[in-house]
Amino acid sequence: MDNNEREGAGLEVKVESVGEFSLIGLSGEVDVYSAPKLRETIKTLVDDGKFNIIVDLEKVAFLDSTGLGVLVGGLKRVKHHDGELGIICNQEKILRIFRITGLTKVFPIYRSREELLNEVKEA
C-alpha cells in the first residue's frame, strides 16, 4: 500500500506485513469520523488480494460501534475469500466492548503481537 501511514481525524493507520498477515496498526480514536479511514484501509488490502488481516488495537484510546461495524464488515470481506481478520488487544476497556456486543466469539483475539506470532509458528 502506497499510503502506509495516514494521519488526521484523530486516527493514525499504519500497515505492515508480518509473515502471512497484513497488520494494521491503529493509534488514536476510532469513531464515526475516523472509522472510514480504517474501512478504506481494509478494503484496499482486500482489493490487493490480502485476505489475512490483523488489526492491532493496542494504541487505540477509544472505539465505538462505528469502529466495530467496520471490523465486522472487514471480517465479512475476508471471509468471502476464505481469509481471516483478527484483533490484537490487551486493553480491558476495549475488550469490554467486544464482550458486551458478543464479538469476542466472532474475532480471533490475541493479547499481543508476540502471542500472534507464537500461534502462527505453532500452526
Binding site: 481525524a9 484523530g10 480514536e29 469513531d31 464515526v32 469520523y33 477509544f62 465505538d64 460501534s65 462505528t66 466495530l68 461495524g69 476497556k93 466492548i97 458486551i100 456486543t101
Partner: protein, 146 residues
Amino acid sequence: MPEREGTPFELEIPAKAKYVGLARLLAGSIARRMHFSEESIDDLKLAISEVCTNAIVHTGNGEGEKPPILVRYLAGKGFITVEVKDQGPGFDPSCILDREREGLISKGFGIPLIKSLVDVFECDSHPQAGTTVTITKFLKPEKDEL
C-alpha cells in the same frame, strides 16, 4: 431532561461527524470532576458518542444545511444526565422495542451498547419532530466504601 437539580451545561454542535469527539470530551471532563471512576467515565464517553453519532447520522451528517445538535449536560449530586436533541426526521420510538424483541438490531451495535453502559436510557421521538435521547449515569461508591 428529568426534573433533577444540578449544574447545567450546554453544547451546540454542527450535525457533522467530526464534532462527536467534542461532546465526548466534555462529558469525560465533567464526569472526571465529579469523581466518577475511570470505567464509568469510559462508559459515559462511549454512550454519548453513540447517541451523538445516531443524532448526526439521522440528521444527515452534514449533507446540506442541517440544524445543529443540542447536547445538554446536568451534573447533579451523584449523577450525570446528558440529553441529546436533534432536529432530524424523527421516528416512532416503539420501533426500537419492537426490533429488540424481534432480535432485529443486528446491523448496528449502538442502542444495545448504550443501554448496557448507562443506568437510564430514554428516547422521545416523533415523526417529523426530531429525537431527544436522555441518558443518566449514577455515581457509584468506590469498592472500598461499600
